[in-house]
């Protein structure tokens, strides 16, 4: 008779790197939707981004809907 044993090892260690990545996604996502006033686009487009604030307008309705302070 053959015996089959399955050993389930539950690793208690939570991968720190994965948590750091999630932390970054959290911070950036919150910033883009909730607080960006053209900062991100200004990296690529220069100062004009602040006047056009594309990103702000694109996330504008969500900003209100999700309860972030806006205009």
């Amino acid at each position: 008779m053959s015996q089959s044993k399955e050993i389930t090892v539950s690793k208690s260690k939570t991968p720190i790197l994965a948590l750091v990545i999630l932390g970054i996604v959290f911070g950036m996502g919150l910033f883009v939707v909730g607080y960006d006033q053209g900062h991100l686009f200004s990296l690529a487009l220069g100062e004009s981004a602040y006047e056009d604030i594309y990103l702000h307008e694109l996330t504008h309705d969500m900003r209100h809907a999700a309860g972030f302070p806006c205009h």
């Binding site: 044993k5 050993i7 090892v9 932390g23 959290f26 996502g29 307008e57 809907a65 302070p69 806006c70």
Partner: protein
């Protein structure tokens, strides 16, 4: 823990929840946003800054179209952000969360996080439609809102540490948090803006906003729980046969 699998299911859950949240907003909050912005338009016509007509309407519809088109994308981004925060807390607390099925655990944690980092801050600094906010105070309002979320969330973590150390009468930790957050609730300065918009518009918008955000927390938890149950990223199997 399998890192890549863990990351994937957390991000997928958040993004999916956020996209659904984005779509829901077309029915829940958008009608209120439209009426609020129409009030702003009216003020512009009355002050003589703009003239109502086909030209204005064409530009206005174009502008609103751009704003609306971002709803689903922004929902996905926000969903991933909130899902990531949830994933971090879930990974760290999963072991001690009660429940046989992973969905029971995610729902319980989601309920607690929804209450501490969304509902309580929402009651103090309620969502507002356009026309309510004063652009001059947006930085102050952002700081107040974020600080309150952080204080409430970190307060919950702090009282959880007390909860763990208590041998008996663990309920004291909940009472402690309730007292703590009530005091903070009272001493935090109120939103400085005066609401001049019609109250039924503002209240209707707030109800819809709270409902929609709650759906995001719910859907994210359901999907993450289901995926975790199926893929078990925390378990490494090894078959030993002899």
């Amino acid at each position: 823990m399998k890192s890549a699998l863990f990351l994937a299911i957390v991000l997928i859950s958040g993004f999916t929840g956020g996209v659904i949240f984005g779509f829901i907003n077309f029915v829940t909050t958008e009608p209120f946003l439209d009426s609020a912005i129409e009030l702003e338009n009216k003020a512009l016509f009355e002050s003589g800054e703009e003239k109502d007509g086909p030209e204005f309407r064409a530009e206005y519809n174009n502008y609103r179209g751009w704003q609306k088109s971002g709803m689903v994308l922004a929902g996905g981004i926000l969903g991933m952000a909130i899902g990531s925060l949830f994933g971090i807390v879930f990974a760290l607390s999963r072991k001690i969360l009660p429940g046989k099925h992973e969905i029971q655990k995610t729902l319980l944690l989601s309920g607690m996080m929804w209450f501490t980092v969304f509902m309580i801050p929402f009651l103090k600094y309620s969502a507002n439609p356009p026309t309510v906010g004063d652009p001059e105070t947006v930085v102050l309002r952002s700081i107040l809102y974020l600080s309150f979320i952080a204080i409430s969330g970190l307060g919950a973590v702090g009282f959880y540490q007390i909860y763990k150390r208590l041998q008996s009468k663990k309920i004291a930790a909940f009472i402690g948090y309730a007292i703590f957050i009530s005091i903070i609730f009272v001493i935090m300065p109120p939103n400085p803006d005066v609401v001049s918009a019609p109250m039924d518009l503002v209240n209707g918008f707030r109800m819809m906003s709270a409902f929609s955000v709650s759906v995001l927390w719910l859907v994210n938890a359901l999907i993450l729980g289901a995926l975790w149950q199926k893929f078990k990223p925390d378990v490494e199997n090894s078959d030993i046969r002899n």
